[in-house]
């Protein structure tokens, strides 16, 4: 199931990069007009651009299997090394955001569903709409200004202070946490709004079901009914949505990492776009898509964990 998808991902990425009129060589050499015809020929050979497209693709695919994406146009480093260096930071921030989304959105959604039309429900509904419509980069800008510049509580760029040598372990952890607060909260913001809305409607649907009425009728406490009977059923569609939000988070990394100068994959992608560093762009494009695929796969797995029907049908 996943193999054909990965194959398709490589095909789409390859097509995107070869949309360039004249191909990568033209673009790279147009910066330096002095590049001779000979130099162009050499580069074409180097990247195999003199071969027919399908041969280029199969060659590239062959190297892709070995995770060899070629060398960066910018500094000649291996693309895979550049990405590997930066992936942990991006993953760390994304995972923290996911955890934050999950921990904040579900209680909000459940509370506003069980108190439908209450003041709390109304306020969160407004929050959801505004949150969903706020450009995240603008929010980041405002928060940097308020918390970073005006109040001076939080650092506004990087993932750690420039000089950490004088710090002991706990000071270093505090330092890193401070740097992570803004990026994580802001990248989670839109997700919290969306997911809390979603868990609210999912919960509303569930608590109208007959089995909830039954549970109440047999005299169970309300809290028990909600936690034990309703929540599990309401969570299932929520997990799917959480899985679907992975590409948004990974893509959003481009914006957050650029704003907060975080040396992650998103920032690398942004820089590569500016410098038209095709091997790096292609590498990140494929890896981003594969990460999404893995995210969806994990969502399916956890789906099976909470839904007994799926577990049973698989056995």
């Amino acid at each position: 199931m996943m193999i054909p998808l990965i194959f398709g991902i490589t095909l789409v990425s390859f097509t995107v990069i070869h949309l360039a009129p004249g191909g990568p060589v033209e673009v790279e050499t147009e910066m330096s007009l002095k590049a001779s015809a000979q130099a162009r020929e050499n580069m074409k050979k180097l990247y195999g651009l003199d071969k027919p497209l399908h041969v280029q693709y199969t060659d590239w695919l062959g190297r892709f299997v070995k995770l060899d994406f070629g060398k960066s146009f910018v500094d000649g480093k291996k693309v895979i090394d550049k990405i590997a260096e930066r992936i942990p930071i991006t993953l760390k921030i994304n995972l923290l955001s996911l955890v934050l989304i999950f921990c904040a959105a579900i209680p909000i959604g459940v509370l506003s569903a069980t108190r439908q039309y209450s003041l709390f429900d109304r306020i969160t509904t407004i929050f959801v709409f505004v949150g969903f419509s706020t450009p995240a980069f603008w929010l980041a800008l405002i928060c940097m200004f308020v918390f970073g510049v005006t109040l001076g509580w939080l650092p506004i760029s990087g993932i750690q202070s420039i000089d950490t040598s004088g710090m002991n372990l706990s000071a270093r952890i505090v330092d890193q946490t401070k740097h992570l607060i803004l990026p994580v909260c802001i990248s989670a913001f839109g997700g919290i709004a969306g997911l809390s809305r979603y868990s609210r409607s999912s919960m509303l649907e569930v608590i109208r079901q007959d089995y909830i009425r039954t549970a109440r009728a047999k005299g169970l406490k309300e809290l028990y009914v909600i936690r034990r009977h309703a929540l599990r059923n309401a969570l299932m569609p929520v997990v799917t949505i959480l899985g679907l939000s992975v590409p948004g988070l990974i893509g959003g990394a481009v914006i957050f990492e650029t704003i907060f100068s975080i040396p992650g994959m998103g920032q690398l992608f942004y820089q590569s776009t500016l410098s038209r560093d095709y091997p790096t762009i292609m590498g990140i494009l494929v890896i981003g898509a594969v990460l999404t695929l893995i995210g969806n796969f994990l969502a399916d797995l956890s789906y099976a964990l909470i839904d007994p029907r799926i577990r049973i049908s698989k056995e």
Binding site: V27, W138, I255, I259, R276, A289, L293
Partner: protein
Amino acid sequence: MISIVWNRFRKNRLAIAGMAVISVIAMIAVLAPVIAPYDPAAIDVYNTLSSPTWGHPLGTDDLGRDVLSRMIWGSRVSLKVGFVAVGIAILIGIIIGSAAGFYGGKTDAILMRFVDIMLCFPTLFLILAVIAVLEQSISTIMIIIGLTSWMDVSRLVRAEILGLKERDFVLAAKAVGASDFRVIFRHILPNALSPVFVSATFGVAGAILIESGLSFLGLGVQPPDSSWGNILASGRENITVAWWMSLYPGLAILVTVLSYNLVGEGLRDALDPRLWRSEN
């Protein structure tokens, strides 16, 4: 049908407010040359980074350009990007979705697999990759956003068509010898469009957000042309001295996107037959 939907939509005050805001912004965009107090590209080196005054109600930017005028012209970009990008997305989505739903079998399997593949790419990654390859201009941006956001529409259309294609009126149309094209576009699609309308409204909101994000990163609309996103980009560089450059364009994006989302939500409720019954 339309009058029922309109009556239900009208009762939703938030959606009506959203619609009013959208109309006002559309009017501002159309009338930009008339109502903008200054030339949006006119540089005034003696009056840079001026805070809001009577002469410049929203202040001036680092080159002395009037922020209000730039925002008025910027509304054109948002309007254009929103509608063109969504138009493209809907066109592709309808074609792929109806082909998959109507023909089923292998066609369906291949097209839907393609949708799955496209959905794996983080949208911004795909967009940035294309931007790196093609020249940066507003038309490129509109087309790319359209090309990367049709997947939801195609799934919606496919699902609607699957539910409709065995119905009697479709079979009747086929029986009298109507071509596939005619059956799909004339008989099935008109009955399958309501979820597409809803998705389109949310789509406009999404496209505006993406465009402003790209322009903010310097990959979208390039100065001296103005867009809300690129005003914010220069606002970012001057944030410590000129908060007005960052506050107002952001609010403009927020209010516009919020309005489209409210209208979309209102449309969805108004078009949902399940909710009609529960209220009466």
